[in-house]
Point group: C2
Chain length 208, copies 2
Amino acid sequence: MRVAEPTVERLVLYYRLLMQLHNEERRVVSSQEIGEMLGLKASQVRKDLSYFGEIGKRGVGYHVERLYRHVSDILSPDRVWKIALVGVGRLGEALLGHKALRSEKFRLEALFDNDPAKIGQVICSVPCYDSEEMTEIIREKGIEVVILTIPAAAAQVSADRAVAAGTVKGILTFATTAISVPEEVLVYRVDISVELEKLLFFLKGRMA
Amino acid sequence: MRVAEPTVERLVLYYRLLMQLHNEERRVVSSQEIGEMLGLKASQVRKDLSYFGEIGKRGVGYHVERLYRHVSDILSPDRVWKIALVGVGRLGEALLGHKALRSEKFRLEALFDNDPAKIGQVICSVPCYDSEEMTEIIREKGIEVVILTIPAAAAQVSADRAVAAGTVKGILTFATTAISVPEEVLVYRVDISVELEKLLFFLKGRMA
DNA sequence: TTTTGTGAAGTTTTTCACAGCG
DNA sequence: CGCTGTGAAAAACTTCACAAAA
C-alpha cells in the first residue's frame, strides 16, 4: 500500500512524541491529545495511524508503548544504510555533532572535503577523504546515501561524482541549488533560506 | 489574493535560478526551460508566475531581468525585520556563517546562549546575551523573528521566553520537538532528522 | 509559429461525520 | 458512553489542453 509523504513526515513526529510519553510512563493517549501536542487535527492523526492497521482501542485511545513500537517498526529500515557526508565545513561539522546523525538506522562510513588540512584526518571517528576520490571510495565502501553540506557551486559536481559510483540510491542536500540526478536516485532537500523566506513572506501578508 | 505555500517555496527557487541566469547574461527563458532546470512541469511554472500578473511574452518566454526583478519584488519584505538567534552551539554558529543569514531582508540584532563563556561576547559582530534575559532584551530591541538552534529540551522554554516579549511574530525552529505558541505567532520548522527519516523510508519502499 | 495564461480536469491531502466497537 | 476507524465530502494543489497574443 502506498503511503503519502505528508503521512510519513507526521509519523516521525508521532514517534518522537510517543518516545517522550513513554519515558514519562504515560500509558494511554487519544488522537485528540496527540493532535493538540503536535498542532494537528485529531482526524488527521487517526487517518495516518489507520493506514497501518487497527492499533487503537475504541472508547479508550492508543496504548502508548504499543503504538510507540508500532510506529517504530513502520519507520525502521530493513537494514543499516551506509552513508557519507560531503563537505566538512561549519554546517557539516554541526551535523556530525547533531542528534540526527546519531541513529542506528545508518552508519557514517566516510567524509569528503577538498581542504588538505582535513583530508586524511579522522573527524568524530570517521575518516575524511579527498573529494576527488569520491567515486572510487563510495563504490568500494558500497555507500548508498550521501549527505551534501557544500556550497551551491560545488553541489552538482559532488552529486555527479557520488552518483557515478553506481551504489548511491538517495541524497540529502543542504545546498541552495537544484541538482539533477538520474530519476532512480531519491533526493531530499533541507533548505534553510527557503524556510526563512517563506516565514518572512507570510509575515508580510499577515501584517498587511 | 491568497498565495499558496508551495508556490512561495518555488518562487524562491525561481529567484535563485533567475539570479544565476541574469549573471550569465541570459536574456530570455521559457517556462519549459525553467521547469527542466528545477525539476518542475512547465505548466506549474507558468501557473505560479501567473498569480502575480502577466509577466511573460507569448511566443517568446520570460525576459530574465524583468522576471528577476518581479520575483524579487514579490519576495521582498516591506521593511527590514529584526531577528535574534537563540543557541550559539555548532548549529547556531554554522548558521551565523551561512548564506541564509546574510540577507538585507533582516538584521541580526542579538544572540542568546546560557554558556557563560559566550555571554557578553560579540560573535560575528553580534552581541551574545544570557538566555535568562531574553524576554527583556527582545522587547527592548523590538525583535520580531527568532531562530531557535537549541536542543529539544530547551525549545519550549526558549519559545515561551521569546513570545513573552510581545514583539515576536515568527519563529524558525531547528529543534526536533514541537513547540506550542499563540496562534498569531507563525512557526516554521527545519527538521533534519525528519528529512533523513523520510529518505530512508521511501528508499526501503523502493527496494522492496 | 511559438509560448504564455488560464479555466477545467485530475490528483492528492485533509477534514467531516458517523458507524462500529470496546 | 467515548474514541477509533473509515467512507464520503471538501479543500488544496497540480496538470492538462487550448485560446490568445506576440
